[in-house]
């Protein structure tokens, strides 16, 4: 086996101080499909960005075909025969497939672009590698799978021998995924090398020859996939057997805290996003709103928490209307809210940890006198909260923006959970953070439930929805299509049927989400 690419002792530190790659080494052979596996934030994407010249490493050596190289820019990478297919396609929608393929090195006739030559080149490449596309179609009109194919052709036209695919199947249907795999195998047999980044273990097993596993910015090693089971890979990725069971007693719900009735919402384009949604959240229970992205849960939670205005219907917190009232009022009534986007809403990233935790408590008599803050109490309690929520920072005076994603989320959670709230709206509370932090946050949510807080959970993670919540409301097309009072008997498959609109419950069953009070 001939080695085509080798990375030795590579280290990359981002501006915010995150050590994304820590002494990473990897060796890739010609003509293999090499998987890079790791959790979110393990450093896979960073390594690929370095290889494609998008990021510059602090230390380390890269060898292509045995020669030491410095990859200063994507064009340098392309010259070395390294091509990349990004997660988000870099195509111009208003141009045709052929125009996109030749963009940057267009065949010319005089001062004009030779469109015929562009089409010819595209078709030839397509035939050669079994990647058929219609060169005259507008990119805006073709499917996601075809767009990806165009990206691959683009890279091949520029002479890519090593192709980097960053989570290519995330956007594909299962049919498209199968086709992609066929194409990739064909490319491999033609002598190309493919770096395949994924955390879908089935796909890795089905497609790849070898796998390199990354964890916490380091490479753990490279393994032949033959003889390696999925649970072996998963164990190495996470560093221990994944515990998805959350220890909790059955809920003992109390009085209704939040009562949502007949909420409707139209988008600016006049589309009805929420269509008569009603449910109750009781004290001491975790109610989850689940649904495929774009089925109204985003709008619903923003209406309830006050981030969005303009809905119809009512959402009452212990009898007081929330819709159309300022967020200040809802918070004074006892609502806490972990927002889905921590950088947009959750933190003031240029301020300190202390500042961010205090933000919800500035009117608390413990922290302010009639005029001035009680500095000593603030210092003591904010430090204590940062510690209690295991925020990893040098001190509470550190800038929040310098922390990692998981720790920033813990700052948000520390503030919202120490608010003495009676209703907690937890919107994607563990999205994009490491396993340890996610587990910590889930445990705290259960503790709050046990202390009698009503919890409204919104999550796209089915596993989390099933494990964490006591009951589930499923939205599809802006309507409640199912209500499960008890999640213990529910499976992911069953949820999937409702979320995708395959099944829906009768109005009587859905009525169960509304508790007579």
């Amino acid at each position: 086996m001939e080695e085509i690419l080798r990375v030795e002792h590579l280290t990359k530190v981002y501006e915010n101080g995150i050590l994304a790659n820590d002494n990473v080494s990897i060796s890739v052979n010609r003509g293999e499909i090499h998987a890079i596996c790791g959790e979110n934030g393990a450093g896979k994407s960073t390594l690929m960005k370095v290889l494609f010249g998008l990021e510059q490493p602090e230390q380390g050596d890269i060898f292509v075909k045995g020669e030491p190289v410095r990859i200063q820019s994507p064009s340098a990478a392309i010259k070395l025969g390294i091509g990349m297919v990004h997660q988000h396609f870099m195509l111009v929608d208003r141009l045709t497939v052929a125009e996109n393929v030749v963009l940057g090195n267009e065949p010319r006739r005089g001062i004009l672009i030779d469109r015929e030559a562009a089409c010819r080149v595209t078709e030839e490449l397509g035939r050669k590698y079994n990647l058929e596309v219609d060169p005259t179609a507008l990119v805006a009109d073709i499917s996601v799978g075809l767009k990806q194919r165009v990206e691959i052709i683009k890279a091949l036209l520029r002479g890519a021998e090593i192709l980097i695919l960053d989570e290519p199947t995330a956007v594909l249907t299962s049919q498209e995924t199968r086709e992609l795999f066929e194409e990739l195998r064909h490319l491999r047999d033609a002598g190309h090398t493919i770096l395949f980044i994924s955390h879908k273990l089935d796909e890795v097993k089905a497609l790849c020859n070898r796998v390199t596993i990354m964890r916490g910015g380091r490479t753990l090693g490279t393994y032949e996939l033959e003889g390696l089971s999925k649970s072996d890979i998963s164990r190495m990725m996470v560093g221990r057997d994944v515990v998805l069971k959350i220890e909790k007693e059955p809920a003992s719900p109390g009085a209704v805290e939040l009562s949502v009735r007949g909420v409707e919402y139209w988008s600016e384009l006049g589309k009805k996003m929420i269509d008569g949604v009603s449910f109750d959240v009781r004290r001491g229970e975790i109610l989850c709103i689940a649904g495929v992205e774009g089925n109204g849960q985003r709008e619903l939670v923003e209406l309830i928490t006050g981030l969005r205005s303009g809905g119809a219907g009512s959402a009452k917190l212990r009898g007081t209307e929330l819709l159309g009232r300022p967020i200040r009022a809802a918070r004074k009534l006892g609502m806490a809210h972990i927002p889905s986007d921590r950088m947009v809403y959750g933190v003031a990233s240029s301020q300190s940890v202390k500042f961010n935790i205090l933000a919800g408590k500035v009117e608390d008599a413990r922290y302010t006198g009639k005029l001035l803050f009680r500095d000593r109490a603030i210092d003591r309690d904010m430090e204590a909260l940062a510690r209690a929520y295991t925020v990893k920072c040098t001190s509470a005076d550190q800038t929040v923006g310098m922390l990692s994603g998981g720790n920033i989320q813990k700052v948000v959670v520390a503030r919202e959970m120490s608010q003495e709230a009676t209703l907690l709206v937890a919107d994607q509370p563990t999205r994009g953070i490491d396993v340890g932090a996610a587990e910590f946050i889930r445990r705290r949510i259960v503790e709050m439930r046990d202390a009698g807080v009503a919890i409204l959970l919104i999550t796209a993670d089915l596993n989390e929805a099933l494990e964490l919540s006591d009951s589930i409301v499923i939205l599809h097309g802006g309507k409640v299509v199912a209500y499960f009072a008890d999640t213990r008997a529910l499976t992911e498959e069953e949820m999937g049927y409702y979320m995708l609109g395959v099944k829906s419950q009768t109005p009587e069953e859905v009525e169960g989400a509304v508790h007579a009070s």
């Binding site: 820590d22 981030l307 990233s349 210092d379």
Partner: protein
């Protein structure tokens, strides 16, 4: 030039209040690791280094320019950088110039902290001077009270004007920057109209007002210099109060939160209306008071014929002070020292005092340029990160 002893000792006295206002906030828990100041970490350390380097480069380039244009470069440099400290008169000139800069610097810091780019301080300073002048001409009050009544009135007027861009921004999301720039002309024209048509002293040659009541003029620290005790005390008080407001109260907290992230401010239930409108009103109050103090310190009748430029200087001061009122006196002293130094140099050696603009321009460009010294910062971050070995938990 005579070095009279009384002048010198008075000079020290005059220095004390301003020195104190820099020291005051350091006392108590605010000084060490406590309170809610700006974050303290590698970033804040880096910012300090960046500022010092910017100042050094500015001075170095100025020195080069002086060498290029002056016949006696060493002498010119000496006048410019040491001149202001050589005689009490010069030093008092520095302090006299520093006072209006402290007021406008605090005014600009207040609204910039909330990311409200309200530049009416320029117009309000002028308007405040006019209001104080009118009050000083038309009212009769006891000696100690009179100037402070005039200053208070000017502050109120400033607050009202400052509220205009604030309200329009909050209610209709109108750009406070554009409105405040336009308002400066309104302030100027209205002030000139009032003076010309109602309070013009026709016996005087130029367009000036009647003389102020003797009781309305602030008392000098020393008879022969124009620095006034009332002005110094008020400037110190304004810095201290603005600092306490911004870093020690919940209202100031919402102002700083709004400056950092407006979405966050709204989402956490902080008072957004106060952050937007209040910061601009307070800024107006301080600028108005500044104009009044200047008017009742330096003049005996209203004789401004053009905008003073102190509002714009306030922007420079605020940039150097990083919008922290606690650092405003030092920043104002620095700018005033440079200006007086350049003035001395011009009078002694003929090098134009506009040279000071070169220093200002270079320093401001370097300070606001995000990527200046970015590599150094990155090296500092890398050193920190590899030392603490923070393992990445999420990669953008």
């Amino acid at each position: 030039m005579h070095h009279d002893l009384s002048g010198q000792s008075a000079g020290n006295e005059a220095l004390n209040p301003s020195a104190q206002q820099q020291r005051d906030p350091h006392r108590g828990p605010a000084g060490k690791g406590g309170g809610l100041g700006a974050p303290r970490d590698i970033n804040s350390r880096f910012e300090l280094i960046r500022m010092l380097v910017a100042i050094l480069i500015g001075i170095a380039i100025t020195a080069l320019v002086i060498f290029a244009v002056s016949d006696t470069p060493l002498e010119s440099l000496r006048y410019m950088f040491i001149g202001p400290a050589t005689t009490p008169r010069y030093f008092f000139n520095v302090l006299e110039l520093m006072l209006p800069l402290v007021f406008t610097g605090v005014a600009i810091s207040l609204c910039f902290s909330a990311q409200q780019f309200n530049l009416t301080a320029e117009g309000i300073f002028f308007f405040g001077g006019m209001v104080a002048a009118v009050a000083a001409i038309t009212t009769k009050l006891p000696d100690g009270l009179h100037p402070f009544f005039c200053i208070l009135l000017a502050g109120l007027a400033g607050g009202v004007i400052g509220a205009i861009p604030g309200l329009l921004k909050y209610r209709w999301n109108a750009s406070e920057l554009v409105i405040s720039l336009m308002l400066n002309y309104v302030c100027f024209s209205v002030s000139m109209y009032v003076i010309k048509n109602h309070f013009r002293d026709k016996d005087a040659g130029a367009i000036v007002s009647y003389l102020f009541e003797k009781t309305a003029v602030l008392d000098k620290v020393v008879a022969k210099y124009r620095l006034t005790t009332g002005g110094v005390v008020l400037a110190a008080a304004v810095c201290l109060l603005a600092y306490l407001f911004m870093y020690k109260t919940r209202w100031g907290f919402s102002v700083r939160a709004a400056g950092a992230n407006m979405n966050f401010t709204r989402y956490t239930g902080l008072n957004v209306a106060f952050a937007v409108i209040g910061s601009q009103v307070l800024s107006g109050v301080v600028a108005g008071m500044g104009g009044a103090v200047e008017m009742l310190s330096m003049f005996t009748r209203f004789q401004w014929a053009a905008l003073t430029g102190y509002g714009w200087d306030g922007v420079i001061v605020a940039i150097f002070a990083r919008n922290n009122p606690r650092h405003v006196p030092l920043a104002a002293l620095f700018l005033a020292y440079l200006r007086i130094g350049a003035d001395i140099m011009m009078r002694r050696t003929g090098v134009q005092m506009e040279i000071v603009k070169v220093i200002q321009a270079i320093m401001i460009v370097l300070l606001v340029a995000e990527s200046f010294l970015a590599k150094t910062r990155h090296r500092m971050v890398v050193r920190e990160a590899t030392r603490e070995s923070i393992v990445a938990e999420e990669v953008a």
